[in-house]
């Protein structure tokens, strides 16, 4: 058997999958749209691949104001789901801005959150990359870095998280349930993504064998009337975000009562723009307020040689997203 071969197991039961998942060399396979390209490029070499796409985890339930989505639900099914469309349009927008129809038909919610960075140095086994090979260095920092982060980078890694869905979910304060053979734990989506260290850059805070089983949003339907996902890219479709912004507002009596802003393409995780959010509270949804939120969004940005353009771009994107969200009724 060649080193590139693996055992393929189609798990029928969650407990079986979780037990296998703990073993060294195991990897979960959901839609496979990221795992298999990584494997083909020799960037990952699992010994056992546990296909979880047939587990009964693809359910969507809404009770009261809470929405619960099973981790293996397909992106296209979520985007087309009437309840999600009606009450969580931001999630649909984020999904529909992602990849292509074909990819979305197989890709899953959980897999999307755990897809690995698109950093071209990471995706080439011949190049230095701390994320792939801790301690080997970071090719991007002094190389081609148009795609790199403005926030949350370290000398060790400046890669962005590529998911659009995660940005939309972060804006809605989504939580995830993670299961393992030894039980369950629940965490905020933001806790899933650690910041990079000096010579390492883990993708997630999941422990070996842990599986995302559920994605949950509590009380997020209140943003349904004023939410938008803005994605900026070089071509009209089928490209990861250069910069993206998820904006969600609750407007009451002509004033912004609550604001949620998250940015993609600028950090190792969906980047919540808390200062901008705070500055909007209690204000009328005016150009002036939006401009201020835009200016605050870029505070603390630390560009590299090739990505300084993302600073004005992020500011303008925040303003545009707020105009769109604030202008809805």
């Amino acid at each position: 058997m060649s080193s590139a071969s693996f055992n393929y197991i189609r798990a029928a039961e969650l407990t079986d999958a979780l037990a296998r998942g703990e073993r060294a060399g195991a990897a979960y396979l959901a839609g496979g749209t990221d795992l298999l390209p990584l494997w083909k490029a020799s960037l990952t070499a699992p010994q056992e691949v546990i296909d979880i796409s047939h587990l009964p985890l693809a359910t969507i339930t809404r009770s009261g104001d809470a929405l619960t989505i099973g981790a293996t639900a397909r992106l296209s099914d979520i985007a087309a789901h009437p309840e999600v469309k009606a009450h969580y349009p931001l999630v649909c927008d984020g999904i529909l801005a992602s990849a292509s129809g074909q990819v979305r038909n197989v890709a899953t919610m959980g897999g999307n959150l755990l897809q690995r960075t698109r950093c071209p140095y990471f995706r080439d086994a011949g190049l230095a990359c701390n994320k792939r090979d801790p301690g080997s260095g970071c090719g991007t920092r002094h190389g081609e870095n148009r795609h790199a982060v403005l926030f949350g980078g370290s000398p060790g890694c400046v890669a962005t998280h590529p998911s659009d869905l995660a940005v939309a979910l972060a804006a809605l304060d989504a939580r995830i349930v993670v299961s393992s053979a030894s039980g369950e734990r629940e965490l905020a989506l933001s806790e899933l993504y650690p910041l990079p260290g000096e010579t390492t850059a883990p993708d997630s805070s999941l422990r070996p064998g842990e599986m995302i089983t559920v994605i949950r949003m509590l009380n997020a339907a209140r943003f349904a009337n004023h939410a938008t996902y803005l994605k900026i890219r070089d071509r009209a479709s089928f490209e990861f975000a250069v910069v993206s912004v998820a904006a969600a507002l609750r407007i009451a009596d002509g004033a912004i009562a609550e604001a949620r802003l998250a940015a993609g393409g600028v950090a190792p995780l969906p980047w919540r723009l808390e200062k901008s959010e705070a500055a909007l509270i209690g204000r009328a949804p005016t150009e002036h307020a939006f401009a201020e939120a835009g200016a605050l969004a870029i505070e603390g940005a630390r560009p590299l040689e090739g990505n300084a353009f993302k600073i004005p771009l992020l500011r303008n994107a925040v303003i545009r997203a707020l105009q769109t969200a604030g202008g809805q009724s």
Binding site: S2, P120, L127, G139, G143, I232, F309, L313
Partner: protein, 721 residues
């Protein structure tokens, strides 16, 4: 000659999967090959450790420069005979094994030890080392007509700018592949190539064998665009050596990632242009091009060549120079030279129009060249002004001032236009036609169909000449057993095959006419042969009400059918009485979101004049396909090299952006039919025309929309913010 719309001859075969591409040949006992790649960009191979690879299951053989030492030295064998490493990812060995995954595994397990030298990985690092090549294609690298320096010093307006274009990578859908085997001293090579006869000749040279012992087949191509040529030969040779060593058929197919390194690219350019005007007339042009080539081979696009022709101007100086880097080798890519060259020239003309306060279209009309000033010849035909007129009218250019600078939703609208051109040339060609007793017609020519419609064009020319319906036509091409045909490149295949097929069918017509008119039992007996016409499977008299079926004529006098060959010569550039050139005017409407930097092309109108159009359907799809490639060059495509390692970054279609469906504008294509008495059948090439001009038109439209002049390609978000 007729002009008719006929659907693709091979369309059904392709969409039903019956067309077999050469890489799909799966002969008995086939071995699969994989390449071992250099992990560094410059150095010398010291040794290869195959101890682990050789123990892996399925391993059959390894081929290196040592095996290639048996090949005769030439430019085509240099890379595989020598130990020098010229670029990152350069193959240092080929491994063959029973399955593809075993071959890849063994290639991975093969360790190359290489003595590294400092690599020069970016053109910008060595601009001071630029040198002048002897030729750029078939043109001199430098030319000088009049005294441009003096004219510039005396000009009323001088526009002096630098324009740059990025590396674009070749990416036909079908990756390069070969399936080959030896039959004693003979070899059969199934490979995707744009030039079967040149491939046969180079094999004959390298392996020192007579051409008759070599059969090269390339019957369907999933695109070529200029990359299925000489850069592929070294790796094809290695596969052939592996086959000879193992006495088994061997198959090598490049991976998509390898396509970024091994098959060629449109070279990066930095172009300095100076235009001098007196009263709105060009009095001087200087066009200086610096471009990248590799350390192992030389290539220069004819980037500034078309600046010598396009406008009337007494003082023109052009220069090309090259910088060698440890990067992959450039080759021609659709609209070679004209795509980057018109970007610079036609952007500069737009800048001049702005400064002169005249409409860009007017400026071009005012400076129209009514003859080839570089060679002192008339044009064979030139309908450029008609292209401008028709294009402007269909596009609505007159509304430019009113419409542009308006906003549609978030988009600021801009209009832009530019000119495209490409020379009309021909290669030598032979063709055979055989009319069989049942009235069906076989047409044979050893050229290739890159997917651009050569099967259809060949069949159509013969069908029209003999009045045989298309469904009775069989076309064979892409096999060196057939009569020598032209290579597929330079937009010249249709123009080259046309006279050869015409010559062959003329012989058949004469033979058939003679049989019919000299036979008293034929209804056509005694008619003058000039009076006959061939249509609908019949020979008819034009003057009287008489006719006879082709099958009846054949049955009487040529029961085995009739066969004829025709041939036609290449363009003799020394003896030309007139310069043949195809032209087009491209008009675009774009939208720019100035806050978010996004650019989208909304509408494109291309008006083209390229001689006589044989099949408007094929021509339209060529023009649209060309324009799409041009949009990619203008807004998306860019191959980046990591400066530190010389590695190409983002070797996949996720990273290397090309336009997708959502980027497609509305296309309006106008074809202006020309009568060109100087060219056989009046045929000019069309394949390149759409791919040039549009880049400058887009950049000019961006300026129109947001007042920002972008002098680099691709134009990206950061340029428009």
């Amino acid at each position: 000659m007729k002009n008719r719309t006929i659907a693709r001859y091979e369309g059904t075969l392709k969409v039903t999967g019956q067309a077999r591409y050469e890489g799909e040949m799966m002969p008995e006992g086939l071995l699969h090959a994989a390449l071992v790649e250099s992990p560094i960009a410059c150095g010398e191979l010291q040794s290869l450790d195959t101890s682990r690879a050789a123990t892996l299951s399925g391993f059959a053989t390894l081929v290196t420069h040592e095996d290639a030492a048996s090949l005769k030295p030439s430019a085509a064998t240099a890379l595989i005979r020598e130990k020098a490493i010229h670029f990152h990812g350069q193959p240092v060995a080929l491994v063959a094994a029973t399955t593809l995954s075993e071959a890849r595994e063994a290639a991975k397990a093969t360790q190359a030890s290489i003595a590294a030298r400092t690599a020069l990985t970016q053109m910008g690092q060595a601009l001071d080392q630029a040198y002048e090549p002897a030729m750029v294609g078939r043109f001199p690298a430098s030319t000088r007509r009049g005294d441009s320096a003096k004219a510039l010093s005396e000009a009323g307006l001088v526009v002096r700018r630098r324009y740059t274009t990025a590396v674009n990578n070749h990416h036909p859908m079908e990756p390069h592949a070969v399936v080959c085997w030896w039959e004693g001293n003979k070899v059969v090579v199934h490979t995707c190539t744009q030039a079967i006869f040149a491939t046969r000749a180079i094999i004959a040279h390298a392996f020192e064998m007579p051409p008759v012992d070599i059969r090269v087949l390339s019957r369907y191509l999933g695109g070529g665009f200029g990359c299925k040529g000489q850069l592929w030969w070294p790796w094809m040779f290695w596969a052939m050596l592996a086959s000879r060593k193992t006495n088994r058929p061997v198959r090598l197919e490049l991976t998509r990632a390898q396509m970024f390194i091994l098959v060629g690219r449109r070279q990066e350019t930095a172009q300095d242009i100076a235009l001098g005007f007196v009263d709105g007339r060009l009095t001087a042009i200087e066009h200086d091009v610096v471009a990248q080539t590799s350390t192992h081979a030389e290539f220069s696009d004819s980037t500034a060549v078309y600046t010598r022709f396009l406008y009337a101007c007494p003082n023109v100086t052009t220069r090309h120079s090259l910088v060698r880097t440890n990067e992959p080798q450039p080759v021609p890519m659709r609209a070679p030279g004209t795509a980057p060259g018109t970007f610079a020239l036609e952007s500069a003309m737009d800048e001049a129009a702005e400064l002169l306060g005249v409409d860009p279209l007017e400026l071009r009309l005012d400076n129209f060249a009514d003859r080839d000033q570089e060679n002192g010849r008339p044009w064979s035909s030139n309908s450029l002004r008609e292209c401008y007129r028709v294009g402007a009218e269909r596009f609505g250019w007159a509304e430019r001032r009113a419409r542009s600078a308006t906003k549609v939703g978030r988009w600021k609208i801009g209009f832009g236009m530019a000119t495209t051109l490409y020379p009309a040339i021909r290669q030598a060609c032979r063709a055979r036609v055989a009319l069989r007793a049942d009235g069906s017609l076989l047409v044979q020519c050893g050229t290739q169909d890159m997917g651009s419609g050569t099967y259809t064009a060949l069949g159509q020319i013969a069908a029209d000449a003999l009045g045989v319906p298309m469904d009775k036509i069989t076309v064979e091409l892409g096999d060196t057993e057939l009569p020598d045909g032209p290579f597929s490149g330079g937009s010249q295949v249709t123009a080259s095959i046309f006279p050869a097929v015409e010559a062959a069918t003329a012989k058949l017509r004469a033979a058939l006419a003679s049989i019919a008119t000299t036979d008293a039992t034929s209804p056509l007996g005694g008619k003058p042969p000039e009076d006959l016409e061939f249509a609908d499977g019949m020979i008819r008299s034009r003057s009287g009400n008489a006719g006879e079926r082709l099958t009846d004529v054949l049955a009487r006098a040529a029961a085995d059918g009739l066969e004829a060959e025709g041939e036609s010569p290449a363009t003799d550039h020394q003896k030309l009485a007139a310069t043949g050139m195809g032209y087009g005017a491209i008009f675009v409407e774009i939208g720019v979101d100035p806050e978010l930097g996004e650019i989208r092309v909304r509408r494109v109108c291309g008006a083209f004049a390229a001689g006589h159009i044989l099949n408007p359907l094929l021509a339209k799809s060529q023009y649209i396909g060309g324009l799409i490639g041009g949009i990619g060059m203008a807004l998306h495509e860019q191959t980046a090299t990591d400066a530190a390692t010389g590695s190409i970054l983002g070797k996949s279609f996720t990273d290397y952006l090309i336009p997708v469906h959502a980027d497609m504008p509305a296309f309006d294509i106008a074809m202006i039919d020309e009568d060109d008495p100087h060219l056989p059948g009046g045929v000019k090439g069309i394949g390149m025309l759409g791919t040039a001009g549009i880049q400058a038109a887009i950049a000019n439209a961006v300026y129109d929309a947001i007042g920002k002049r972008i002098r680099k390609l691709p134009i990206r978000i950061e340029d428009c913010l």
